[in-house]
Symmetry: C2
Subunit: 249 residues, 2 copies
């Protein structure tokens, strides 16, 4: 872990064999896992990590994640993830990422939106007032030239797949973990999309938690050329778990 400057964290990775898909490229789910880990490392090193917050009975919650890749690294490739805080709002913060190849060229960017909530009442808190607003000291305008998350609406989607939540889906909070939704969304597409093209932009907005035994329906609607809006619902369609967007290119 080297620091580009005090505000930007940079973390090194290598594409492990079981983290590559059938094309030999890193999977988006594993990249997502790395991004969230980097968020955690970066925040921890600067005094606003989840451990520090938990002591004060607050915690971080991921609200949105957008990843846009020009190229995914291949099996055994080394790559780095840079992360930084772009903005702090009253109830949200924008954290961005740059994914770079070993030779330094940009492979892609990502954006995430986080809320801070009370551990007991699960209600959003004003993060500028928590922990002496320390997070404000690290805001930087390092460039992240991809679109911010958009509002995703589905009008007449089709039911693509159904997944019953299993043991392997559940994290330490008792919820389906944020990364598993990425897999469940991508698994709703025919494998030919990944053969002839690759995921160019992926977007997910988390709405409601889901739990062991829930049945998740994955709904898909076309939204342009090789672009799709996605919604995962539970309780027979009564509640939305998350919405997403996938563009292949």
């Amino acid at each position: 872990m080297t620091e580009i400057n005090d505000r930007i964290g940079s973390y090194g990775f290598m594409v492990e064999p079981f983290h590559a898909d059938f094309t030999g490229r890193l999977t988006l789910a594993v990249l997502g896992n790395h991004l969230l880990n980097c968020a955690s490392f970066h925040a921890k090193d600067r005094g606003f990590g989840i451990g520090t917050l938990n002591q004060q009975h607050y915690t971080w919650v991921l609200s949105r994640l957008v990843v846009e890749m020009e190229e995914m690294p291949s099996e055994y490739d080394k790559f780095t993830v840079e992360t930084w805080v772009e903005a702090v709002y009253r109830l949200f913060t924008d954290r961005n990422y740059r994914i770079a190849a070993a030779d330094g060229r940009t492979l892609g960017y990502a954006r995430s939106v986080w809320a801070m909530i009370g551990m007991d009442d699960r209600k959003p808190v004003e993060m500028t007032k928590v922990n002496d607003g320390r997070i404000m000291d690290y805001v930087t305008d390092y460039p992240c030239p991809i679109d911010k998350p958009a509002r995703i609406k589905l009008a007449a989607p089709r039911l693509a797949t159904t997944h019953r939540v299993t043991y392997s889906d559940i994290d330490i909070n008792g919820h389906v973990n944020s990364i598993r939704y990425i897999e469940h969304i991508l698994d709703a597409f025919d494998i030919s999309y990944f053969k002839d093209t690759a995921v160019k932009r992926f977007e997910i907005a988390y709405v409601t938690e889901s739990y062991y035994g829930d049945t998740l329906d994955v709904w898909i609607e076309e939204a342009g050329d090789k672009a799709f809006n996605v919604e995962i619902k539970k309780d027979g369609g009564k509640s939305t778990v998350c919405r997403g967007h996938v563009s292949f290119g």
Copy 2:
């Protein structure tokens, strides 16, 4: 990566948040992934890694994996995996592992059996004749006090779950990856097994590859107190993909 001696490789890890299950312990699937990576690192550093073999049109195939844990490390815990070659037979090699906590105490052991095959004809080759039999130089009798894999037979199993193979299951060889079977087997058990107990011993023997679109049936049969034999079949039960054993304790 430090070496205990020239024959034993030792590799450090940390339990990442998304690699822990709902109890906060490392998942067996992620541990399995680490073990296979360590095998790969160890072999590569000693001149019989998959890259070297591929140049000669041979490759490694995992045949069996057994993991027996006293205790799984928890979220954010550091731990190490040691690996070494216990024996080289004509067509197989036994590679063992010790999993240790940061303070050095043993958390568990694992055993794996590998074959070497020709990349073109997929037939087993005599590994003592490949690459000047270099692997023979690294055999060591470092202790691994857990039972070797046993022959698993099911007499009257019940169908526990069915899983249709998706994009996320498939690795660079176009097969369902070895680690995913661990998840599919564990996901066939009710979550209460993981709440009240933990997996004490897990065994898997790989028989036939499965592919995108295959439907995998997971069959389970009791084999003692909180112990189960498992078989994954495809093609409507016509062919066995793998067999396993899971003991909770």
